[in-house]
Amino acid sequence: MNCKKNMEKFLNYDKEFAIPWTIRLHMFFCPQCRDEINSILYEITSLQETSAYEMDVDLSDSIMQKVYKSNVNYEHTMSNLKWLCSGSLILSSIVLISFSDSFIYLKKHFGGHLEIPISIVLSLIFCGYLVLFIGSHLEGLKENVDYYLKKINLF
């Protein structure tokens, strides 16, 4: 591929894709094209660090002041997937505990009535989980309840 065609192809290609291998091959053998293409690429890359216009003032402080006054607040939250996993873990523990070796051993020593206090403890743990879940999703739950109440009222 001659230099002119190669350069035309290079100028036309979209940066969404890698530089075509034919151009790379030509660059390997032609130092002039290699230097020219590398210079153009360098120039285009350095333009990304600039902008068409530059402000004389730095607006970041005034913008951040407005951001802090904004009604939108972001807080550290647990993802819904983590909530689901921990809830499933607690429920499966409640179901599976009676089959575990430790429980069978304790049952032999303390008798069959051990299941009741263990069930109470596990239920309290699950209630604690529900309280935490409802507390952290209160706003979202309120909106959903309002939405469904409106739907029921419509009927």
Partner: protein, 187 residues
């Protein structure tokens, strides 16, 4: 720990998790670029600065709607462009657009001289284009968006964007030709 070398997406994640101060890094990174978009729409510094402030507040308040499927700069540019279009449409007392006017002419000559010659040539070439195509070249060169992304934001056909970008690349190439020829002469 968030620092200025983190990617936009990493910083956004931290902001959503409650580290609001990190948003300042995003503002510092993009304020000039958003200001430039404002200059393309409004042709004066004051309105462009107000535009930039509005955009960053809007971005902050809608961060949870950023899904991370496309680069953050694409999402930011799309919001800025749509906001600019809507604001221009709603402004009824706006004067007619003068295509001969050089946007940013309220910038001092010294400020313009500080930029490289290539930047200057590119800018004068961009400013000679019709208004709606200038912003495409800004998106390509300064915001590093692809043809398809620019088409998605502006609705301008890819081939039109390509031909304008090609013209700009040839200008860069011509400006650099002298430099490369000198290097070879020295060798």
């Amino acid at each position: 720990m968030i620092n200025e070398k983190n990617t936009d997406e990493q910083i956004i994640k931290q902001v959503i998790q409650g580290n609001v101060e990190s948003f300042k890094i995003i503002v510092k990174r993009y304020q000039n670029k958003v200001f430039s978009i404002g200059m393309r729409f409004f042709n004066n510094t004051e309105d462009a600065e107000d535009f930039a402030q509005d955009i960053f507040i809007k971005i902050y308040e809608n961060l949870k709607s950023y899904r991370g499927r496309a680069p953050f700069r694409f999402w930011l540019t799309k919001i800025a462009y749509n906001y600019g279009i809507n604001k221009k449409k709603s402004s009824r007392t706006e004067p007619a657009i003068d295509f001969d006017q050089n946007p940013g002419s309220d910038q001092t000559p010294d400020r313009q001289h500080e930029r490289g010659e290539i930047h200057q040539s590119l800018m004068s070439s961009i400013n000679r284009l019709p208004e709606k195509y200038r912003i495409c070249l800004d998106f390509y060169f300064f915001l590093n968006l692809t043809y398809n992304q620019i088409n998605d934001i502006t609705g301008i056909p890819v081939n039109t964007i390509k031909s304008n970008v090609l013209r700009a690349k040839n200008i860069i190439r011509d400006e650099l030709k002298g430099t490369i020829a000198e290097d070879y002469h020295e060798l």
